[in-house]
């Protein structure tokens, strides 16, 4: 009998005494926790995407409570979350300009020519190492769906060999921007309705040979823009989104249709 009782008493006794000591220690070393932190954490989306630059939503909640982060630090939650956070902290929230990520390439399987057929590992980062990817255009979307795999919000779809981002699901968390080896995904203001969907810096003739929907550098948009919102360098037109007034002149005039309005883009693709 003693062979059972002694070990039980020994272990049990040690366990209880350590327990008591630890509970005393926890009172001595008690750290007051800001009650707002928990409330903030509930207000945040909880996606733990890290777009704010802090390690997850808990990290941001701590920074918000300490006053180190602006109330609109959460890009994912947008205005709604910023308002709630401001409520909890008793601050005024400023208006957040909503941004969305856009894939600046429309060269899908029909419109862009291929250099070769890629049958390796389906990851853009690997595919793009093999002489800049299978597409003839070295700036274009590789189409292996690395951004599709990394998107935590299911906002990216692969349509006919290129990635298309759903502008209503996108939360501007920048995960796809970081992962894209071609650097063709960029943040664009949600309210902006004219986007140059091409990143090719090749000369017009080369672009035309590679892809039917690339920017050929004709400068028609630059000449016709009433707001002077275009800049042109390296054979590529770029829009200054602050100057653009959504007049849609460029969208209508662009001969290759590489400037598009993302709002009715679906109808264009189909």
């Amino acid at each position: 009998m003693t062979s059972i009782i002694y070990p039980v008493i020994t272990l049990g006794g040690l366990g209880i005494s350590f327990g008591i000591l630890l509970s005393i220690a926890s009172k001595v070393f008690e750290v007051p926790v800001d009650p707002r932190v928990e409330e903030l954490q509930r207000a945040l989306p909880g996606a733990n995407c890290g777009a704010c630059g802090y390690p997850g939503c808990a990290g941001l909640a701590n920074a918000l409570a300490a006053g180190d982060a602006p109330v609109n630090a959460c890009a994912v939650g947008g205005q709604a979350v910023a308002d709630r956070v401001a409520d909890i902290l008793g601050k005024k929230s400023e208006d957040v300009e909503k941004e969305v990520a856009v894939v600046l390439c429309q060269g899908d399987c029909d419109k862009a020519k291929n250099k070769y057929i890629y049958e390796g590992i389906q990851d853009c980062r690997i595919a793009s190492r093999l002489s800049d990817g299978q597409k003839a255009c070295s700036y274009g979307c590789t189409g292996c769906g690395t951004c599709y795999n990394v998107c935590p919000f299911d906002a990216i779809e692969m349509v006919n060999g290129i990635a298309v981002i759903d502008r209503d699901k996108c939360t501007a968390c920048k995960k796809c921007i970081e992962v894209c080896p071609k650097k063709i995904i960029e943040l664009v203001p949600y309210d902006n309705h004219a986007i140059v969907k091409c990143k090719s810096e090749d000369a017009g003739k080369v672009v035309r040979g590679n892809c039917s929907i690339g920017c050929i550098g004709c400068k028609i948009c630059v000449k016709n823009c009433p707001e002077d919102a275009f800049t042109f360098e390296n054979n590529l037109a770029r829009i200054n989104y602050e100057k653009c007034t959504n007049c849609m002149t460029c969208v209508e005039k662009c001969p290759t249709k590489c400037i598009v309005n993302p709002v009715n883009e679906e109808s264009l693709v189909n």
Binding site: P7, T10, L11, L14, G15, F18, A25, F29, V31
Partner: protein, 191 residues
């Protein structure tokens, strides 16, 4: 006095727990990326190991040996270590929240740092006295501290070095660890 010096030199250099016995590799690799966190971890491990060795020595000698319960050694020692780690965690959270955040998950993982348990068990096996136990524990954790700080220094340099992509990160760290333990093998025969 001679034996204490021997124990210190032996545990720090000759039988370094990381490089010669290959114990505590997880925290060694996990926390050695920055000098600041590695010193914090070193201090925490030193504290836990020393205290755990003293407590386990007393428990072994006055409870387990007396009652003939030597077979409970492992479980009792782990109980002691777990309680101590909890205590250290609370203390660090109070004293230095920065260090607490920097150590992160590796702090509670001191519980499963095999150096702590390894030192406690080896002390009993070597039939050390209480004084020798304390010095062996301090030596072992100083050895771990040394390994950690050396590695952190190397890794901070490696941050800026031009390392082939396939090797950067943990692979190069493991290679460096291997080279370092070969270097530490040079101490063999010192004691």
């Amino acid at each position: 006095m001679g034996s204490i010096f021997t124990i210190l030199v032996s545990t720090i250099f000759v039988n370094n727990y990381v490089f010669a016995k290959f114990l505590g590799i997880c925290p060694f690799l996990g926390v050695s990326s920055k000098m600041e966190t590695s010193t914090g971890m070193g201090v925490a491990v030193t504290f836990v190991t020393t205290l755990a060795s003293i407590v386990t020595f007393i428990i072994q000698k006055y409870i387990l040996d007396v009652l003939g319960l030597e077979y409970l050694q492992t479980i009792v020692f782990i109980l002691v270590i777990a309680a101590l780690v909890q205590f250290v965690e609370m203390a660090i959270k109070k004293i230095s929240p920065t260090l607490y955040n920097a150590l992160g998950v590796y702090l509670p993982l001191i519980t499963t740092n095999c150096i702590v348990l390894g030192v406690a068990i080896l002390n009993i096996q070597e039939k050390y006295t209480l004084i020798e136990t304390i010095f062996s524990a301090v030596g072992a954790s100083l050895g771990f501290f040394l390994a950690l700080v050396l590695m952190a220094g190397l890794r901070e340099k490696m941050e800026t070095a031009d390392i082939p992509e396939a090797l950067s990160g943990f692979p190069i760290t493991l290679i460096a660890t291997g080279l370092m333990s070969i270097a530490f093998a040079g101490f063999a025969g010192l004691v």
